[in-house]
């Protein structure tokens, strides 16, 4: 008992030290440096991947259309905090540049709440038709919704609520989007990324906390029970419909939070961002990190963000130049990304940090679901 307590104390101590390190990290870099930028993006993607992890990792519902929630979160920001609806003139809790622009301008945190509400509703709507479905059929229906929402984003400039109020701005994009506005702090700018980093970190901490609490709650156990054996779980009295919809709703809400943050951070909401490949990108973070494992997903998100935004464009593409070859590596970066995915997955099939539960199943074969060990090699 006391050793367990001690262990827990050491864990908490380590966590605090690491967290402190992460908080002060951007102070060692130029405030507009690419590194701080990559870190901020990684934090935003962690939020998103943790949301997807609830749907895919905890509840076992393969979602190939997660980009839908990113889109809805981002558009909420575009609708409620930009000059997009220039005929309206609503300003709540904003200062600086945004105060003098026409359009609807709500404070970032109000938009964040709206984004959570919208995406939760969207999550439940998308979840409803999948309730009767199993396995990969869920995947295709979520994929279909992701594609439909991507299409609506592209063609939304033709859908008008009334004159001057189209649904989206298509591929033209809604630019610029208001920056985060906090009381007592200077206006956020695009040349000082440190405040953005800290806000993103704050969001990640909130989401992490919710994730841990959910995983260890009654609901979390219900998700895992459904994932492992749906029929048994239902016969044990777990309300499948409610439990699944909760997973979609919470998972979607995290995607919405991250989407709203990214819209403000990237200063644009453009239909081209919401493609199927983005769903796959986030799913790869979850699976590569370790399905259902919270720390694994965090690591997976960081790894893929840095591969996509730093390793390939900045490090690898400079290599031929440095060794004196006139060879354009950008031509290969698509393939390199794919190759790295294959290699990492073959080397660590169960993910970088596997979920403790799954690891036990794989190593000792206890409680193995009927899908996992079907094709055992002789």
């Amino acid at each position: 008992m006391s050793t367990a307590l001690q262990q827990r104390r050491t864990q908490v101590a380590i966590f605090i030290v690491v967290l402190a390190g992460i908080i002060v990290l951007p102070l060692f870099f130029n405030p507009a440096s690419g590194f701080v930028d990559d870190c901020t993006l990684a934090l935003a993607y962690i939020t998103m991947a943790l949301g997807l992890n609830i749907i895919v990792g905890f509840a076992g519902l393969l979602d190939l259309g997660y980009v839908a929630f990113y889109a809805i979160g981002a558009y909420t920001m575009g609708w409620l905090a930009s000059g997009f609806y220039a005929d309206a003139d609503i300003h709540i809790g904003v200062t600086g540049f945004a105060e003098n622009l026409p359009g609807i301008h709500l404070n970032f945190f109000l938009v964040l709440i709206a984004a959570m509400v919208f995406t939760t509703i969207a999550g439940i709507i998308i979840g409803l038709p999948t309730l009767r479905l199993r396995g990969d059929y869920i995947a295709i229906v979520t994929l279909a919704f992701g594609e439909i929402i991507g299409r609506v984003a592209i063609n939304g400039d033709e859908i008008k609520f009334s004159e001057g109020f189209p649904l989206t701005n298509g591929r033209q994009g809604i630019t610029p989007v208001d920056k985060i506005d906090l009381p007592f702090v200077d206006q956020f700018t695009s040349l000082n990324l440190r405040p953005w980093y800290w806000v993103a970190l704050g969001l990640v901490l909130v989401v992490l906390f919710v994730n841990f609490r959910l995983r260890d709650s009654r609901l979390g156990r219900a998700w895992i029970a459904l994932r492992e054996d749906e029929v048994a779980a239902i016969s044990m009295g777990i309300p499948a419909v409610k439990t699944k919809l909760f997973a979609y709703g919470t998972g979607a809400a995290f995607g919405g939070i991250s989407g709203a943050f990214l819209a403000s951070y990237l200063n644009t909401v453009n239909a081209d961002q919401f493609q199927f490949s983005f769903s796959i990108f986030v799913l790869a973070m979850v699976i590569l990190g370790g399905l259902g494992s919270i720390w694994g997903v965090v690591l997976g998100s960081v790894a893929l963000t840095f591969i996509n935004y730093r390793l390939i464009p900045d490090v690898l593409n400079d290599v031929p130049n440095k060794v004196g070859l006139d060879f354009d590596l950008t031509e290969l970066s698509f393939g390199i990304f794919g190759f790295l995915l294959v290699v990492m997955m073959v080397l660590r099939p169960e993910g970088l940090i596997p979920e403790r539960r799954r690891q036990m199943e794989l190593e000792e074969g206890i409680g193995a679901g009927d899908t996992e060990l079907e094709l055992v090699e002789p």
Binding site: S33, F281, P313
Partner: protein, 407 residues
């Protein structure tokens, strides 16, 4: 951590060069930011080639300054297209560089909307070789409310472009169709900023000139074919067809399907399709049986009218890349770099503010695109469009169109 220290260190030594104006041996960095991955790659690599050629001709010098050029990528491997993440990262990278002189980019108007505000805050002069969306520089028809001011947080203009805005090309195309006797025009666009904007402007100009547009339909560039769309146009009795968009959005298939559905159909296109990849069957373009009915407008002159440096460009381009008919994008890239070098030379300084001033003071510049100035909005004053026909897989200059903009 070492990275941060290095970045801070480099700040110091650049401070000296801007104070002593005539310092020979000062270095100025020029960046380009273009989507080098995915479907736009053929156009953007042509552009980078044009940029490199211009620099090579100038022996990496502008006045007393040595120019160092870096090509940045605003697309990512995962997306295969420009992304706001990569674009803002590029803009910030340049914004931080005290030796940065000029930023050439972006290729997509949507991406420029992202990079302009960042570069504007840092005061970096920007030249776009390809953006035609109206709202980036002016509030003329075609721009949204709040444009263009919302892109310039400092209130001072930092963005220029060397391609004319859509309004002008739209009028040029409508004029051509009217001259050719078109009565019912089927119009398609690729829904990108350039294509959708151009199609709107063609529509406006066509209305003024009494050319009936049957429909203006956005296409899905990933569709395998457009046979049913073409048969719809046939059913409505179209005698002319126009596509506003770029080759990379499945233009070849689109023209083939329309040509097959309606024999003898007259077909038109903007500068987005004015390239060998569209007209030359050897490079995967249209078969000659289809392309003989195609006419294309480009903001470049008849090769005979080129000033000497323009002639030189064509011969050098052939020497360097073995292609005697470079894409218009190569020409735009070439001119973007030349304009940057010219501005730096006229500024005689590595100071961004002075380069910016010189850039906006560009007047009657003789170039490969014709003689133009940069107005106070950052737009080029070029208005003439060249009409090209296609002969045996090659674009051939036909005539210069004076567009009837109708007021």
């Amino acid at each position: 951590m070492s990275l941060g220290v290095a970045a801070c260190g480099s700040d110091d030594d650049s401070g000296g060069s801007s104070t002593s104006d005539s310092a020979s041996g000062g270095t100025i960095n020029i960046y380009s930011s273009l989507p080098l991955q995915g479907a736009s790659r053929p156009q953007t690599t042509a552009m980078v080639n044009g940029i490199k050629l211009a620099l090579q001709q100038a022996n990496n010098k502008a006045g007393d300054f040595t120019i160092k050029y870096t090509s940045l990528d605003d697309s990512t491997a995962q997306a295969g297209n420009w992304t706001p993440e990569a674009t803002s990262q590029n803009a910030r990278k340049v914004a931080q560089d005290d030796k940065a002189g000029v930023y050439i980019g972006e290729f997509n108007s949507g991406a420029s909307a992202v990079s302009i505000p960042i570069l504007n805050e840092a005061g970096v002069p920007q030249i776009s070789p390809a953006n035609t969306a109206v709202g980036l520089t002016t509030d003329e028809p075609g721009a949204d409310k709040g444009e263009p001011d919302k892109y310039y947080p400092t209130g001072k203009r930092t963005y220029t472009r060397i391609v004319p805005i859509d309004t002008i090309q739209g009028a040029a195309l409508a004029t051509t169709m009217k001259q050719d006797g078109c009565t019912k025009v089927a119009m398609t666009n690729d829904k990108e900023v350039y294509g959708a904007g151009l199609s709107r402007n063609v529509q406006l100009a066509a209305q003024q000139q009494d050319v009936a547009i049957l429909f203006n339909e956005g296409i899905d560039p990933k569709a395998p074919n457009y046979r049913s769309l073409a048969s719809k146009a046939k059913g409505e009795g179209a005698d002319c067809f126009i596509y506003a968009g770029i080759t990379a959005n499945n233009a070849v298939q689109l023209y083939k399907d329309f040509a097959a559905a309606i024999p003898g159909l007259k077909m038109y296109g903007g500068d987005g399709v004015a390239e060998s990849g569209f007209v030359d069957p050897k490079e995967g373009g249209l078969p000659t049986s289809v392309s003989k009915n195609v006419k294309v407008t480009v903001a470049t002159l008849s090769p005979d009218d080129y000033p000497p440096q323009g002639q030189e460009f064509f011969s050098d381009f052939e020497d360097t890349y073995g292609d005697k008919n470079p894409d218009p994008y190569a020409i735009y890239g070439y001119e973007a770099m030349n304009l940057a070098l010219d501005a730096i030379q006229r500024a005689g300084s590595a100071d961004k503010e002075k380069i910016l001033e010189a850039l906006f003071a560009t007047k009657d510049r003789e170039s490969v695109l014709g003689t133009y100035s940069i107005d106070e909005n950052g737009d080029t004053t070029l208005t003439d469009y060249g009409l090209y026909t296609v002969n045996d897989g090659e674009l051939e200059f036909d005539k210069t169109i004076k567009a009837e903009t109708g007021g």
